[in-house]
Subunit: 411 residues, 2 copies
């Protein structure tokens, strides 16, 4: 395959940024676009024509897009609810899939996704961009080098004040809004879970065996609406949001490690993924890009500690994958500080080369199933949920697989 002809399904907001990156690739052509809303469909088509000259096929019916012979692969960025059916139909139609992240609504969807891949072997990649981010990759490189000793625990968050995004937007179209109104769960686990699962070799020598989730009541969104009665979407005044403000999820791994996820999206705060890796010989902390090792002075003031160790992980940057060694300013500016570019380049490269995807359908199923299991755990007051083994035991022997190859450490 010299050129990948791609269809893009779902143009809320996310797909525009990703499409712009793809439009910049010489070996990609956008041949079809789809959104269930006509205005979005037309905007997407216009944008391709303006940037690249061609007029892509445009439709409100994703099945019409999947029927096209001029589509080799699809990038799916619809609402979360449609991720599974479209991804499954795409694989069955023989279109390679790049599936944007989200969570599952039921366990069965995850099994069906796995079955669709096992039956078709259509290339499938779960597009967890944080797995391609510089910080998380730097931490992973240091883990692989053994700098932190045995890894004991990883934690992270999707800590992002989404009150404006969820309540804003046109005609209540935002899929997050209905989710926040109607569900109470770890609705967006993968930004932190993806990199952590890679570090802990989940599905590849290790397994997530169980989780518990606990939620606060929902006060943040309602306070936000109340404080903005004069300007907010009037449909939301007095609305009863189901989604708890903060959801913690603890995950136990087969080899004895734990992970902690925090969803923190409806209270005032600044953005952070709070990514941390803890080992018997050291730790990595994303907030300050800190590496701290056994034997270094212990500090009793966090401020002093940060001043001392901030960016100390930079010393190890020679170990970053090639994609981050040669990254251009254009790529850095293209979306989320470069990770979107690196991720899409990797999808296209692996597809063209016929290489297996590094974030595969088993990862997608295991990471997304956390959402519906957390929902059930919360309903049952924090009950333990067993996490299915979508690999049917193969995790015991599947080899470790990083999303990109690391380099050697050089002073």
């Amino acid at each position: 395959m010299e050129k990948v002809r791609m269809g893009i399904i779902g143009f809320g907001c996310r797909a525009y940024g990703m499409m712009d990156i793809l439009l910049g690739f010489d070996d990609v052509e956008i041949t079809a676009v789809c959104d269930k809303y006509e205005d979005r469909r037309d905007n997407a088509q216009k944008r391709v024509t303006e940037k690249k000259g061609n007029v892509p096929f445009a439709t409100t019916d994703y099945k019409a897009l999947l029927a096209r012979e001029d589509v080799d692969a699809v990038y799916i960025a619809t609402d979360w609810e449609m991720h599974f059916p479209i991804a499954i139909d795409s694989m069955r139609a023989g279109k390679a899939v790049a599936l944007e992240v989200g969570g599952a609504y039921c366990v069965q969807d995850c099994y069906d996704l796995v079955s669709a891949w096992e039956e078709t072997k259509t290339p499938f990649m779960f597009m967890e961009n944080c797995c391609y981010n510089r910080d998380e990759l730097l931490a992973t490189a240091m883990v692989r080098k053994g700098l932190f000793g045995k890894i004991v625990h990883c934690s992270g968050a999707y800590a992002h004040d989404l009150r404006g995004e969820v309540t804003g937007g046109k005609e209540n179209r935002h899929y997050r809004l209905r989710n926040y109104l109607n569900r109470n769960c770890e609705n967006y686990p993968t930004h932190e879970l993806g990199p952590m699962a890679k570090i802990l070799d989940i599905n590849r020598g290790n397994q997530m065996v169980s989780l518990v989730s606990m939620a606060t009541l929902s006060w943040g969104m309602e306070q936000y609406v109340e404080d903005r009665r004069d300007t907010i979407n009037p449909d939301l005044i007095g609305a009863d949001f189901a989604q708890g403000d903060i959801i913690h999820t603890l995950i136990k791994c087969a080899n004895g490690e734990t992970m902690m996820l925090k969803l923190d999206t409806s209270l005032p705060r600044s953005y952070s993924r709070e990514f941390q890796v803890r080992g018997t010989k050291g730790l990595y902390e994303q907030d300050t890009n800190t590496a701290y090792f056994d034997g270094q002075p212990e500090y009793w003031s966090r401020v002093e500690y940060v001043e001392k160790y901030k960016n100390s992980a930079e010393k190890y940057k020679s170990m970053l994958p090639d994609a981050w060694q040669v990254i251009t300013q254009e790529a850095l500016d293209a979306g989320h500080g470069g990770m979107d570019y690196v991720e899409l380049r990797e999808f296209v490269d692996r597809l063209k080369d016929g290489r297996e995807m590094a974030i595969d359908v088993y990862d997608a199923a295991a990471w997304m199933v956390v959402t519906c299991l957390s929902e059930e755990s919360i309903k049952q007051g924090g009950a333990v949920m067993q996490i299915p083994d979508f690999t049917k035991g193969a995790w015991k022997t599947r080899p470790s697989q990083d999303v990109l190859a690391f380099n050697e450490y050089k002073e």
Copy 2:
């Protein structure tokens, strides 16, 4: 009562610092000291004589101390296992109790502690010094002023690398050592839970209803021992530690809030209590003494955020209790940055004035029971544990009670 005659029971390490503060009080006399080891007993007696001139009664039998007529009150800082029997015997002997912190080994002990107080009404204070710390009090003052809106979640940690302390020391005497070898639980919950429980009015309008705990395996202590084979206590080489390296505990409150505790004591790291308060209108973060409010700019870089808001809570210092407005350098230097002094002064003042203790037997029972419930939850793979209501329903009507009165906000 013009002068409080005190006995001190348990001279591991903690009691010396606390005794030195008490020896500095004009209205306190140390009339008796006790430790089960003769060398500690003798050292304690000598220290009193050197500093104050009197020769206190000294014994290895705490019951002999409790039988003394010249003892009005006891400060108990023994191993955790003996906290309950000694506190109960003390109350029954009519000696006012200042009980050092720790966790419970079984639920029944907590009930027995409550019964001893209810039957005797002997003054009892649980000595959670972090409730008297400046940061936690500053945050609490801001909460009471409504600056953070409705409080949704509190989190904190006992994050303290104790590998040296647990494995060091004389003849394996350290009570932590046998606990780390034999138990796996949130063994030290109260430094973070105490201030959080005060903020959320636990036992006073609110209640902790359930918890779940999850533990990693135990690798940190064993790695530490292995790396120091030549110098470590030889009894510990190859020892099998039961205590997981990191324990997370999630607690659900009757009014819908959650709390998260983290015990993090056997991996390399620097000290922090990671105390955070989250509300619908803002947050407090102890690590950087940050107050952040709804409407302030959102930052995408944690480092920038910290540079912007670090110590922003200081603006509200006029609200701190009087004890922190007039604190002396001597008090600040006396132990843990001043909180030990403020706490002991408060115990003595309330005892002399016949005022109720602000951290009472119900708080002690509710906070300490977390330890044995976490142990059971971990054993059962993260099962939900119901937290007993030691107030027998009285929590619904008991009024909110801060440990110290706050002042008004002044620019």
